[in-house]
């Protein structure tokens, strides 16, 4: 499988990462932030799958199993984020990140 175009695939995941990072930096709604974080995370997962196919054989298996683990990890991370957003919404009645200004930067 070594004839895969490495630049194209890494470019694709880099673009995904860029979309995610842009979302993290610009979104003010916590739920949309979580979605942006997930998009960026998927860029890394896609990379693992792609490089697994590129390497093939036993090193390839490593990459595929890492990808599965990371999908599970992403769900855990979002669960914690949702717990925080729930508590925040209950206390302040908003999930807008820009409203959180009690601690000065």
């Amino acid at each position: 499988m070594t004839d895969l175009p490495i630049v194209g695939f890494v470019g694709l995941s880099a673009a995904l990462l860029a979309v995610g990072l842009f979302g993290i930096l610009t979104r003010r709604n916590f739920i949309l932030l979580l979605i942006a974080i997930e998009i960026a995370m998927n860029a890394a997962i896609l990379n693992f799958v792609y490089f697994a196919a590129y390497a093939g054989g036993t090193p390839g298996l490593t990459g595929q199993s890492i990808a599965v683990v990371l999908v599970g990890f992403g769900a855990t991370e979002v669960a914690v984020g949702l717990a925080i957003v729930l508590a925040l919404n209950r206390l302040k009645g908003t999930i807008n990140v820009a409203r959180a200004t009690e601690l000065k930067l």
Binding site: I24, N47, Y54, A55, I66, A87, L91, E102
Partner: protein, 535 residues
């Protein structure tokens, strides 16, 4: 592999996990008193600490060894494992456990009516479990997932009160930045996997040194980008400038005992992750420098990383110190000073020799006590009605001599005054940087100048505490102490748990400062093993 041979080496982790389960079981059974749950946490970390110290080869505890001496610092023959017990890893496990033990000991004195004790101690133990796993990681993915075990627990720990909007806001900020840094780290790891075909740190080190890797030579850009993303991701965890802005807000907003854990514990985990991840490329350079047939591209990576790290270290020290000078609030001042200390620790990793690593490890050890202790003390005095501003501490040294002297000792140790542990660690670290020659000498000079700069804001606190008169009635009515001239409460007014923790901190600061051989030898030999390990 039978159960005992598997459970043996991981006994400290299993003890912690058992502690977590027990705490949550008691929570379900409605046994939620702070003293009960807290003593379980203290006991679990204490036992785990005993096992780890025994594994380090400390003879009086030889009976408690959980892994044979032969499996510490092993040589790899045939395949690289997911985890490996290095003696430096064990030293760090001990440091992490000490931090948690201090925090849970001090938290025994938290107000009795406060709710959520099981959540607090359970998450504290879970976060420590992740840190212990970081210390034995040998695989990049294992390392990053272990970091996440700690991170997820600390996000919740920061916001565990749920009623306090400041700490919830801190939890939210920490979550967003933490998730961002995690993503960047995993992206970097995926690029390294693409370049090397493996995620094992020691395999990567061997590939770099022996140059047998398939992809490494053909795509140097992947390696460079991979390490770049990893450095940025980990720099967030280790609060290096310019990735530090979140830390001050979080340290300020979190419950102060949690802040002590963040500054003394989980941040050190980020720094140890730096040790593991970056020593492969930097050691690679040192091996190559002694004359071997590598191409320029293969060698170029190490110096690039070293210069990047050197710049980060100087930036972190300077920006942290300058901003600390400008702070009016105690917690924020300590937070910025904690950031600048991370810069000193980074010097050790940048230089990458065994003495420098030993210096950085000592600095981290010292910082657990100085900064962790300082935050625990700040949490204690806030119960006396002393406000968040530095000026609120006026006259504390004369009204509360015990607390004042303890805090003064911690500050002097942070500033690096002789006969304290902070002096020993800085001395070892800076002299190692000078020995390494080259531009590392300038790193040592930058460190010394920064230490001098930091004396200004520590001295300001000392002046406020000892030489300025308190406002006429500093304590609002209804606080624990009454009257215009408050009497000294039992155990220094902190409650026994917190007083014991702070007493321990003071003893270590002075004892190790006066007699550094106690820990110096163990740390130095551990660092030497780590540098030679698997190479």
């Amino acid at each position: 592999m039978d159960l005992t041979s598997f459970a043996g080496p991981f006994l400290p982790e299993i003890v912690l996990l058992a502690g977590v389960l027990l705490v949550y079981l008691l929570d379900v059974l409605k046994l939620r008193s702070n003293e009960l749950v807290g003593s379980i946490a203290v006991a679990a970390t204490g036992f785990a600490l005993l096992f780890v110290v025994a594994d380090l080869g400390f003879t009086p505890f030889a009976l408690l060894r959980t892994l044979p001496a032969s499996s510490v610092d092993p040589t790899f023959s045939g395949g690289y494992p997911l985890y490996a017990f290095t003696s430096l890893g064990l030293v760090f496990q001990a440091i992490f456990l000490l931090a948690t033990c201090l925090v849970s000991l001090a938290s025994l004195s938290r107000p009795r009516e406060e709710r959520g004790a099981p959540i607090f101690y359970g998450l504290l133990l879970l976060a420590t479990l992740g840190m212990l796993l970081v210390a034995v990681a040998a695989d990049l993915i294992f390392l990053l997932l272990a970091i996440e075990v700690t991170s997820l627990a600390t996000y919740l720990l920061v916001g565990y009160t749920r009623r306090d909007s400041r700490s919830l806001e801190a939890a939210m900020k920490m979550y967003i930045i933490g998730a961002l840094s995690t993503t960047l780290s995993f992206f970097g790891a995926s690029l390294l996997y693409g370049a090397y075909g493996t995620t094992n740190l020691y395999a990567i080190r061997a590939i770099g040194i022996l140059n047998t890797g398939a992809g490494a030579g053909s795509y140097p850009v992947l390696v460079l980008l991979g390490y770049g993303f990893l450095i940025v991701g980990l720099a967030f965890k280790a609060t290096l400038v310019p990735f530090h802005a979140w830390a001050v807000d979080v340290y300020d907003g979190a419950p102060t005992d949690v802040t002590a854990f963040l500054a003394g514990g989980s941040k050190k985990m980020g720094l140890f992750a730096f040790f593991l991840v970056l020593l492969a490329p930097i050691l690679f350079v040192r091996t190559v420098a002694s004359g071997s047939p590598f191409t320029t591209t293969q060698v170029a990576l190490g110096p690039v990383l070293q210069i990047t790290l050197a710049v980060l270290a100087v930036l972190t020290m300077t920006v942290g110190n300058v901003l600390a000078l400008l702070q009016k609030e105690m917690k924020r001042m300590l937070a910025y000073s904690s950031i600048s200390q991370a810069g000193y620790m980074l010097i050790g990793i940048t230089v990458g020799t065994a003495p420098a690593l030993a210096g950085a490890t000592l600095q981290i050890f010292a910082h657990v006590f100085m900064k962790g202790g300082a935050f625990l003390l700040v949490a204690g005095v806030s119960a006396w009605g002393i406000g968040p501003l530095i000026d609120d501490w006026k006259g504390l040294g004369t009204r509360r001599p015990l607390a004042g002297v303890a805090f003064a000792l911690m500050l002097l140790s942070m500033a690096g005054v002789p006969l304290t542990v902070g002096f020993v660690s800085k001395f070892v670290l800076f002299s190692a940087a000078v020995q390494a020659q080259g531009y590392f000498v300038w790193l040592a000079i930058a460190g010394l100048l920064n230490s001098a700069l930091s004396v200004f804001y520590y001295a300001r606190v000392l002046r406020v505490m000892f030489f300025e008169q308190a406002a006429p009635n500093p304590l609002p009515a209804g606080t624990v102490v009454g009257g215009s001239e408050p009497p000294i409460l039992p155990a220094g007014g902190f409650g026994y748990g917190r007083a014991a923790a702070i007493g321990l901190v003071v003893i270590v600061i002075v004892a190790v400062g006066v007699y550094p051989q106690m820990v110096l030898g163990a740390v130095q030999s551990a660092a030497q093993h780590f540098v030679n390990f698997g190479a």
